[in-house]
């Protein structure tokens, strides 16, 4: 079938045939779907796993490694076929937009080829978010968050204050005698927004902390206002959530409430075991839990699947509120795809020799400019020098395209232009943000919210703008490249 399609393209759209666009789209899309499905299959939750157990995903690093390897292999195989013919270098007729079209197709292929890891991780997240509706998940997260007050996950407010986070509201602050068990009123729930142990590439969802704060206040207000029935209902609901996942408790909500609900001080309470079947070593009736220097009696006869639910709902929370793949992380994959497309395109329109010289020159330049920037000790000198180098390369290149003499070293400069233009927007942003740092010497309330501050708060958006900028400048650059190609070599 591919041969038939390729033959059709060869006769009608030689550029598409040359790029092998159909097989490449088919392969890259198929691999993305495959890795998504692998992620989806791997993303299932195991409700027997508890946060108190040893849980490590050994497969994901291996799959990620192979997805990167797959990208490299597919790229190399594609280039072998793609580089077989080069109509542009052979001076076959081309209209002004042909090179731009070629680059856009390369771009799509490169981006798709860079997305295998993302597809896998997206699959992991999608599977986890598919268990429950958003509303139900939110509700259950609230239940588990509030129940955490009666577990050793609850924290003393003075042990857990994020000074940088102004959203955290500390209620009922009572001085604490650390030799005595703390009152439940002095403790805070372990909300999901404070969860800090997400693996690499996940971003914390700071805004969820507001919800934690609300939940914290709600459970405390039930205790303060003597709403025992609400507590019983909450614990029953928690036990029911466990049953939904075949996780049984050997205590009712009412009994559990008796262990923890002792108004008005709420200083006398007991823990129960927070994971399901007891380990053989736990075959004793009473123990002591130590957390935050608090010695709290623990009744090991009873258990609830808190550890299991906490662990698995954290996974669901992560998938929903701190997903691997969101608009911030996608920019990294897009940038990788753009980078590859520009490297391949520049090689295609110039030569291997000039491509390599340009690459080495830029690396050497990076080091030299870095050295100068250190010597001048100026925050923006590095960016300014790079912008000047970029402008210099552009002036040289464009002077050749309009001149009547030979190309000289414009092939090297063209490579530099194609690559360095990608850094113009980030460098200008860097200069703007760095120059605005003077405002930080002022108190927060006196700082004007300038464009620089907006820029500083919207780095991912700036990179998206940069990608748009690349798409726009490549249109004009590709037209000039066709003109440049016609210029005499020497």
């Amino acid at each position: 079938m591919f041969n038939k399609i390729q033959n059709h393209l060869l006769l009608r759209h030689p550029l598409l045939w040359n790029i092998k666009v159909v097989p490449m789209l088919a392969i890259t899309i198929a691999l993305n779907i495959l890795l998504f499905l692998v992620g989806f299959a791997k993303g299932g939750l195991d409700f027997n796993q508890s946060r108190y157990g040893y849980n490590f995903d050994n497969d994901s690093p291996v799959i990620i490694f192979f997805s990167v390897l797959l990208s490299v292999i597919v790229l190399i195989l594609w280039l072998v076929y793609y580089f077989r013919n080069n109509a542009f270098k052979s001076f076959y007729p081309k209209n002004n937009n042909a090179l731009y079209k070629e680059w856009l197709i390369i771009l799509v292929i490169c981006v798709l080829n860079c997305f295998y890891t993302a597809s896998y991780m997206w699959g992991l997240d999608v599977r986890k978010t598919a268990y429950l509706s958003d509303k139900e998940l939110q509700h259950r997260l609230d239940v588990i968050s509030m129940v955490s007050l009666f577990t050793d996950d609850a924290t003393l407010y003075d042990d857990y204050v994020d000074e940088n986070d102004t959203n955290v509201v500390v209620e009922n602050a009572i001085p604490q005698d650390k030799s005595q068990p703390a009152s439940l009123l002095q403790k805070n729930i372990d909300g999901f927004g404070s969860y800090r142990y997400g693996i690499m590439m996940r971003q914390r969802n700071v805004s969820y902390k507001n919800r934690d704060s609300v939940n914290n206040q709600r459970i405390k207000s039930w205790l303060i206002n003597g709403r025992r029935d609400s507590v019983v209902k909450l614990l029953n609901e928690f036990i029911k959530i466990g049953l939904d996942h075949n996780l049984k408790s050997n205590i009712s909500g009412e009994e559990w409430t008796n262990y923890v609900y002792n108004p008005p001080t709420f200083k006398k309470y007991k823990y129960i075991r927070f994971r399901q079947p007891p380990l053989p070593s736990e075959n004793y009736a009473v123990g002591v839990s130590t957390s935050y220097n608090q010695y709290i009696e623990t009744d090991l006869k009873h258990h609830v699947p808190y550890g299991e639910l906490r662990y698995n709902y954290e996974k669901m929370y992560e998938a929903k509120y701190t997903p691997f793949i969101d608009y911030k992380s996608v920019i990294l994959y897009l940038m990788a795809g753009f980078s590859f497309s520009l490297l391949i395109f520049s090689f295609r329109v110039t030569s291997g020799r000039s491509w390599l010289i340009a690459l080495v020159s830029i690396f050497v330049g990076l080091m030299l400019v870095g050295l100068f920037a250190i010597m001048f000790s100026s925050g923006t000198s590095y960016a300014v020098m790079w912008l000047m180098i970029t402008a210099g390369a552009a002036v040289y290149y464009f002077s050749v395209t309009t001149g009547k003499e030979g190309k000289g070293i414009s092939d090297i400069m063209l490579n530099c232009c194609i690559w360095l233009f990608t850094s113009v927007v980030p460098l200008i942003s860097m200069i703007i943000v760095t120059n605005s740092n003077q405002y930080y010497e002022l108190p927060a309330e006196k700082r004007p919210y300038t464009f620089a501050h907006w820029l500083d708060d919207h780095i991912p958006e700036m990179f998206y703008v940069n990608l748009l900028f690349i798409i726009v400048y490549m249109y004009f650059l590709t037209i000039s490249i066709k003109k440049w190609r016609g210029v005499a070599e020497a």
């Binding site: 060869l10 007729p93 030979g406 190609r485 016609g486 210029v487």
Partner: protein, 391 residues
């Protein structure tokens, strides 16, 4: 007899004398001239039937039949007058800091003409070709292309330059040619037909699916020519096309050049460089000799003829004979004095004898016979660029 009639009569003679291979090439040329897909199909059908090794009579009948059809179609078409497509005026190319400089070079190229460039190595032949194809810029002077083009890239799509060392083709040869044809806008339904015809035209039918590495230098050159034909250039510039070819292949390639250039409906201008003086002189309409970058033309251009007549109307060209003999230089000099010998050089195993303008070639031969001078080879190089090499 008009020009088309003449072309067809030549092919009929070839068929009459059983030279089917050459006749087939010319018939393919006519087929391509029609630019008619029904003729492409007929010719391809013929090629397939010829692959089955029919009897010579059968083959002749088929070829005659197609030739007649082609004549009916082409004889009604008018041939456009040949136009000047290239004019080079006082072009110089200097390389800094090298002392070598090419030029000033002046030349004119008309559609259907072939210009041969000859000269020793390192005297500017390749430089001139690269100047003409736009690969090099001229330090001074003008190169004017008398056809329309949008920009420099567009110009260079119409000038096909085949360097001595061609780039490697990747993938099957046939696929490359189909790609070229598609890139040059051949319709999907005619693409394969035209490619097959051009492959057959250059005797490459057996090598369609070969890879570049499995081809000899001669066949590589032929594939380059096949690609060039698909590109329909205004000017073809070829550097040393005869290098690495055996003598038969050289003659075939030169004959192909001549047929391609002189096509009545699709004429192109060709500039080629070569070390094969006599073969190039036979094929070319003008031969330019380059020595140390300085141009000498074999034939005077119309302007130069008028100029020379006005200055030295009575001056005759000397007779220059190249020959090989076992006699010594002094003995030969003495023997040839009666003919008005002006100079006798010994050059690489051959003698170059220069006589006064009134001496004729026949007089030289009579003298050789009368004095019983033993010669194993001789050539009159009075009108060959060979004389520039030895002067």
């Amino acid at each position: 007899m008009n020009q088309i009639q003449k072309h067809f009569d030549e092919v009929r003679d070839l068929l009459r004398f059983g030279d089917h291979a050459v006749a087939l090439k010319r018939i393919i040329d006519f087929t391509l001239d029609t630019e008619d897909i029904s003729f492409y199909r007929k010719a391809n059908d013929l090629l397939n039937r010829l692959d089955a090794s029919p009897s010579p009579e059968e083959a002749k009948a088929w070829l005659d039949s197609l030739l007649d059809d082609l004549y009916v179609t082409l004889s009604t078409r008018t041939i456009k007058p040949r136009e000047k497509i290239l004019e080079v005026k006082n072009v110089k190319k200097e390389y800094y800091p090298s002392a070598f400089a090419l030029g000033p070079v002046n030349l004119e190229l008309y559609e259907g003409d072939i210009i041969g460039l000859v000269g020793e190595n390192g005297n500017g032949k390749t430089t001139l070709l690269r100047l003409l194809c736009g690969e090099l810029y001229a330090t001074s002077g003008n190169i004017n292309y008398n056809f329309k083009y949008q920009d420099l890239y567009d110009l260079r799509t119409r000038l096909v330059y085949i360097p001595q060392r061609t780039d490697t083709w990747r993938g099957p040869m046939y696929e490359n040619l189909v790609f070229t044809a598609a890139s040059y806008g051949y319709k999907p339904e005619e693409n394969h037909l035209v490619v097959e015809l051009i492959i057959a035209r250059l005797g490459l039918r057996k090598f369609r699916q070969h890879s570049w590495k499995s081809l000899s230098s001669g066949y590589k050159m032929r594939f380059e020519l096949a690609r060039m034909l698909l590109r329909k250039p205004k000017i073809l510039l070829i550097d040393e096309p005869l290098a690495n070819l055996d003598i038969l292949a050289q003659q075939t390639v030169l004959e192909d050049f001549r047929a391609i250039a002189k096509s009545p409906f699709r004429p192109i201008g060709i500039v080629l460089s070569s070390q094969q003086l006599y073969e190039v002189e036979k094929t070319s309409d003008q031969v330019i000799f380059l020595k140390q970058g300085v141009q000498k033309n074999l034939h005077d251009t119309p302007n130069q003829v008028v100029e020379n007549e006005s200055i030295e109307p009575a001056k005759l060209k000397p007779l220059v004979i190249e020959f090989e003999s076992e006699w010594s230089q002094s003995r030969l000099s003495e023997a040839l004095q009666p003919l008005g010998l002006e100079g006798l050089q010994f050059n690489g195993g051959t003698y170059i004898a220069t006589f006064k303008g009134e001496t004729t070639q026949n007089a030289f031969l009579q003298e050789v016979i009368s004095q019983n001078i033993p010669i194993v080879y001789f050539r009159n190089i009075s009108n060959s660029t060979r004389r520039f090499f030895v002067s």
